[in-house]
């Protein structure tokens, strides 16, 4: 059994590497595979080397990190809230992060301060959504629809605040901010990759450690309490960690919606059921999904690029509708 699973994870890792290599090879300038190997040997022309090492590779890696982080965030939120529609974007977490980051932009803070704005904004949004949901009792007792509506309301409020913030700034700032809000990994640098990687590593390890507790939570409040789990605080901790992980992706790549919804769904569809497996599966699937979505965004409409968030929304809305139907 153990060997069987190891084989699966190995295949997933190989598959992810293949997807990443294909994504690095394709684009406005075609880089044949043998050139990729030449770069690794240091034998490629400078221009190819620059395109691959400065533009494409960090971009693909950032896409993978954003996807993995959103997948892990969604998997955690869905399990802790026992709600298949829980997702950072739909719960307003991403919207709150956007308010914080756009606020930092409008107030002309340096780009390095935008992530801090995103964290603060997402924290406020989470608090608001939880407050609304708690109106119905405890967080976990909240009806999935109540949570969803709380998320929609918080998201709408976030949208309104962004619009107000942008109403009085020069058009260039508006255009830049809106483009950023639609999601993109086009600005990826190795520095931004390193920031998100460091942040994601810590939070994802924590979520993996918490996975058995979350498994207990899915048994129901009484059963979990019987196993020695402090239901409400464990739920809140896991949820907040997942929310901050999502906020980190917003700071790095803007609003990329629905990934946190689709990915855990696909992981469970692949037969994974224990939280730790769903989480690891979501890392792989999320990474591959966002790499492919970004590839589509890059090559669909040359010489322009599509916003990444628009591509993931096109992929995600059908999933949302299917899930909503199941709730009935």
């Amino acid at each position: 059994m153990m060997r069987h699973r190891a084989w699966h994870w190995g295949a997933a890792a190989v598959g992810l590497v293949v997807v990443a290599l294909v994504a690095v090879a394709l684009g406005a300038v075609r880089v044949p595979l043998h050139d990729l190997f030449a770069i690794m040997r240091g034998a490629a022309p400078v221009s190819t080397r620059e395109i691959v090492l400065t533009l494409r590779a960090p971009r693909v890696v950032l896409a993978a990190l954003v996807g993995a982080a959103l997948g892990a965030s969604g998997a955690t939120m869905q399990a802790t809230l026992r709600n298949p529609l829980a997702e950072p974007y739909l719960l307003g977490v991403s919207g709150g992060a956007a308010v914080g980051a756009v606020g930092a932009m409008v107030l002309r803070f340096p780009a390095a301060a935008w992530p801090i704005g995103a964290f603060i904004g997402s924290g406020v949004a989470v608090a608001l959504a939880l407050g609304v949901a708690r109106g119905a009792g405890t967080l976990r007792a909240a009806d999935p629809r109540t949570l969803l509506m709380a998320g929609v309301v918080v998201g709408a409020l976030a949208n309104a605040i962004v619009m107000i913030a942008l109403a009085n700034v020069p058009p260039e700032t508006v255009r830049g901010a809106l483009w950023w809000m639609m999601g993109s990994v086009g600005d990826a640098t190795w520095t931004s990759v390193a920031w998100l990687a460091g942040y994601a590593l810590i939070t994802i390890v924590y979520l993996l450690v918490q996975a058995p507790t979350i498994d207990a939570l899915t048994l129901g409040d009484d059963a979990a309490a019987g196993l020695g789990v402090q239901v409400e605080s464990a739920t809140t901790r896991a949820f907040l960690t997942a929310a901050l992980l999502a906020a980190a992706t917003v700071a790095a790549a803007g609003l990329v919606g629905f990934v946190g919804l689709i990915v855990p769904y696909l992981a469970r569809g692949a037969g994974l059921s224990r939280q730790r497996d769903v989480l690891v599966g979501s890392l792989f699937i999320g990474a591959a999904l966002v790499i492919v979505a970004d590839l589509a965004a890059r090559v669909a409409m040359p010489p322009s690029e599509l916003p990444l968030g628009a591509v993931t929304a096109v992929l995600g809305v059908p999933f949302f509708l299917v899930q909503l139907r199941r709730l009935r």
């Binding site: 300038v29 780009a111 629809r145 949208n159 830049g176 809106l178 086009g186 010489p303 322009s304």
Partner: protein, 334 residues
């Protein structure tokens, strides 16, 4: 993992109501966002709606004896009487009216109209696109000059309904500027000044054009934003300036005035020179993603003053001279 049903059993009717509400909120938010985005794009370079081709006449009837002309919204505009209280909601036309000697009659401008510096003394009435009708009316104008874009159509119609002479001018190209100079000159009773401004800009541009005619024509890209990469396309007067200054815009065949492109596409088109100017926003992307563009790596970056190039107005001639000198430092540009 499976999800146990929630505690309160779903009531289909309530769910449907909730869903409809949710979809409505999302839809409204999306539409709002889309509108904002279009606004932003227009304001950025006010010419992205419609064909933006230079054959669109500023005044279809530029017959010198006509007393009524057709503007770029398709409405008719009487040339007489000479207006005494003018509101101009476009940096280009405000600067032009000052150059025509009509500054004493300007009683309102948009908040983006800051040239010449004396224009800042005129009360700013708000935005140039979707302006505040109330504030415009409160200035008691007898002529309102608007940038002709679908965003401004409602304001144009309402001002006309209120009995105010409104004229919509689309100035995206050099030829449109020259026609606007002649038309506003006639409207303000300063026809000679209008002719003189138009002729002097045209003469300077002709001089630059002939000075660069036999020079090598480098290929150039003119980014106005680093991230996302927004470049000047064929729909902008800035692409015409590139041509006059003796270079070839690698995005000159794109009809949009300021398309968003991918940085890889810029690399693939491999321009000889990158023009900077027209962008005020410092962005770290200039030193990261843009550093991959071979011209940037080679240091083939020239700068022109943002002040000079940011609008198709009375300084078009000087802008062409500055650009030609930057692109051809070895040549003598008179």
């Amino acid at each position: 993992m499976s999800f146990p049903p929630s505690r309160s059993a779903p009531a289909p009717v309530r769910l449907r109501t909730a869903l409809v509400a949710a979809v409505t909120v999302v839809a409204v938010a999306t539409i709002g966002c889309d509108t904002q985005r279009r606004d932003a794009r227009n304001a950025d370079s006010p010419s992205s709606i419609g064909s933006a081709k230079s054959e669109v006449p500023v005044a279809a009837d530029s017959n010198a004896s006509a007393i009524v002309v057709r503007d770029d919204f398709g409405g008719t505009v009487a040339l007489a009487p000479i207006p005494q209280r003018v509101v101009s909601l476009n940096p280009t036309t405000t600067e032009l009216i000052f150059a025509l000697g009509g500054e004493a009659r300007v009683v309102g401008r948009s908040r983006w109209d800051e040239w010449p510096s004396a224009a800042k003394q005129v009360p700013a009435l708000g935005d140039a696109l979707r302006p505040s009708i109330e504030r415009v009316l409160a200035a008691r104008p007898d002529l309102v000059v608007l940038y002709a874009t679908p965003n401004n159509r409602p304001a144009y119609d309402r001002l006309r309904a209120a009995g105010i002479r409104a004229v919509g001018l689309r100035i995206d190209h050099i030829a449109q500027f020259e026609r606007a100079a002649r038309l506003l000159g006639r409207m303000l009773g300063r026809a000679a000044a209008g002719e003189q401004v138009a002729d002097s800009v045209a003469a300077t541009l002709d001089r630059v054009r002939s000075a660069t005619r036999n020079l090598p024509r480098p290929s150039v890209v003119w980014p106005v934003s680093a991230s996302p990469p927004i470049v000047i396309g064929g729909g902008s007067y800035m692409s015409e300036l590139i041509d006059i200054a003796g270079a070839r815009n690698v995005y000159g065949t794109m009809p949009a005035p300021s398309p968003v492109v991918s940085i890889e596409d810029v690399v693939a088109r491999n321009p000889d020179i990158v023009i900077r100017g027209g962008d005020d926003n410092p962005s770290s992307a200039w030193s990261t993603t843009w550093s991959v563009v071979p011209a940037v790596r080679a240091g083939h970056v020239v700068r022109v003053s943002t002040e000079l190039v940011s609008r198709p107005s009375v300084h078009l001639g000087e802008a062409a001279v500055a650009l030609a000198r930057a692109l051809h430092p070895e040549a003598v540009i008179p």
